[in-house]
């Protein structure tokens, strides 16, 4: 069973090939399980309004807000040295970030319109 880390057995795997007792001997493979498909609402960050306070980054229960070392200049000329984006592979659309944002820079938009 010495598979590399993050191995995920293909969905067709039969009972003989699965480790007994539902043990998962491939540490970290939950990363391969993209939970973003559960989402009905997606958070969209307005980079113009965002003040880079990192509150969304702190509150996200799934570490799905990513801090990028990427510069951004607003139309009004304000310069930031970082940018916050959403990792849609794992964001389940709970809306905590939008709720906590002090400047209402995050909008929850329906996945299906």
């Amino acid at each position: 069973m010495a598979k590399s880390s993050r191995y995920v057995p293909p969905p067709s795997t039969g009972w003989r090939k699965l480790p007994i007792g539902a043990v998962i001997p491939w540490p970290g493979n939950s990363e391969e399980y993209k939970t973003g498909s559960w989402r009905t609402l997606r958070p969209v960050i307005d980079q113009e309004r965002c003040i880079r306070c990192a509150i969304c980054w702190m509150y996200c229960p799934d570490a799905a807000i990513i801090e990028l070392k990427q510069e951004y200049t607003t139309k009004a000329g304000r310069k930031y040295d970082k940018t916050y984006v959403v990792n849609y592979d794992y964001c389940k659309g709970c809306g905590i970030c939008a709720n906590e944002c002090p400047v209402k820079a995050i909008k929850m938009e329906p996945e299906v319109k």
Binding site: P11, T13, G14, W15, L18, P19, I20, G21, A22, V23, I24, P25, W26, P27
Partner: protein, 393 residues
């Protein structure tokens, strides 16, 4: 050198667990099991057994702590009875589902209400579908031997399932019999400590007990089916090996005077001893009766049941538990009926309930059963009645 001594089944179990050199025991006291863990505490306090005794706050926690220790690679033990077994019921499924080789002794006792600390097998019957291997033994010697066999069976790589060893509360748990104790070294050679299962290890991290969504769950349950079926074969091998080393073997069922029998009775636990005496007594009066004692309850030894009962005209199954609202008869009766029907054995079956809540089971009770089975055989007619032996009108 074998040492012959006088032990109750509870103490016999404690000696077996000590000789098995267990690492962790987690238990909550309950009558009639308490002597087992009391004795084990004594062994630990005296330095005779190097194990951790976890005093938990309930049986639910006892089984949970046992699972945790087993998942860390320890050889583990716990014991319970009656309400305690009921309280740990949820966790029994987790132990078997996680494929941990836990061994547990159960001094079988009736269920409340009314509160009753005496013996019957209602507790064990409720644990039937938990995925555990379940032995029901008939003597202190067999209790000792079966605990040792249980570790060998549970830890077998092709099995990896928990094992329950049950015996009558009080009737066996508290009465003293001669028991031959083998050398501790010999026992340890028979069941050397090898961690054959997945364990928690910081060097080699893994997830135990994860979520199993519909696309995965079914396969893990099927693995349990296969392992439990395999356990039937391995249990036989272990019993044979044990017999070679220690000179005692029991089989998965024990036939008694069945060779030329025309009718048969089926029993389990201590009742089987009374039943043997009753068979002898009935035979003195010319009744060709034999006894089949069920020793392995789960997985069910279907082949043996069919083999020993295929030539008798009628079979009476004595149950020490009631299956309320069942289509017909007691829980083991249902097993025997299923086994015989599916094996194409056509015999006149009847179900007898006795020894409920510690109600004494006398020789004449079993003789009543034998006479009824004889009547049914002579009449050649199927009966649809369940006989509740000894219940007052």
């Amino acid at each position: 050198m074998v040492k012959r001594t006088s032990l109750s089944s509870n103490y016999a179990v404690a000696y077996a667990v000590k000789m098995a050199d267990v690492d962790v025991i987690a238990a909550y006291p309950i009558t009639p099991q308490t002597h087992i863990v009391e004795k084990l505490s004594e062994f630990i306090a005296n330095g005779e057994l190097d194990a951790e005794m976890i005093h938990v706050e309930s049986e639910h926690s006892a089984m949970s702590a046992t699972i945790g220790a087993s998942a860390a690679g320890a050889r583990v033990f716990t014991a319970t009875a009656s309400q305690g077994l009921e309280l740990m019921h949820e966790i029994l499924h987790i132990a078997s589902g996680m494929r941990l080789p836990i061994v547990m002794a159960v001094a079988s006792r009736a269920l409340s209400p009314p509160i009753n600390i005496w013996s019957d097998y209602s507790d064990i019957m409720n644990a039937r579908d938990t995925g555990w291997i379940i032995y029901i033994v008939s003597s202190a010697q067999e209790a000792f031997d079966t605990i040792i066999q249980a570790y060998k069976l549970a830890e077998n790589k092709e099995v990896l399932l928990p094992v329950m060893v049950a015996f009558d509360g009080f009737v066996l748990s508290h009465t003293f019999e001669a028991v031959d104790l083998p050398e501790e070294e010999e026992v340890r050679r028979f069941i050397p400590k090898q961690v054959t299962w997945y364990t928690l290890d910081p060097e080699n991290p893994m997830t135990l007990g994860p979520l199993g969504p519909p696309e995965w769950y079914y396969e893990f349950k099927y693995q349990q089916v296969v392992a439990l079926n395999k356990a039937l074969e391995i249990a036989k091998q272990v019993d044979d090996e044990y017999g070679k080393v220690f000179g005692r073997k029991y089989g998965l069922v024990e036939p008694y005077r069945l060779d030329d029998a025309e009718i048969a009775i089926v029993a389990y636990g201590a009742l089987a001893s009374t039943a043997k005496a009753a068979v002898d007594e009935a035979r003195k009066n010319g009744v060709k009766v034999g006894l089949l004692r069920l020793r392995l309850f789960r997985p069910s030894p279907v082949e043996e049941i069919a083999k020993y009962l295929e030539n008798v005209k009628a079979v009476g199954v004595m149950d020490r538990a009631i299956s309320f609202g069942a289509p017909y008869g007691g829980p083991v009766f249902a097993d025997i009926m299923e086994a015989l029907y599916m094996k194409g054995v056509d015999t006149l079956l009847s179900s007898f309930i006795l020894g409920i809540g510690g109600r004494p089971m006398y020789l004449h009770d079993v003789l009543t059963v034998i006479n009824k089975v004889k009547e049914i055989a002579e009449s050649g007619r199927r009966t649809i009645e369940t006989y509740y032996i000894g219940v007052r009108e």
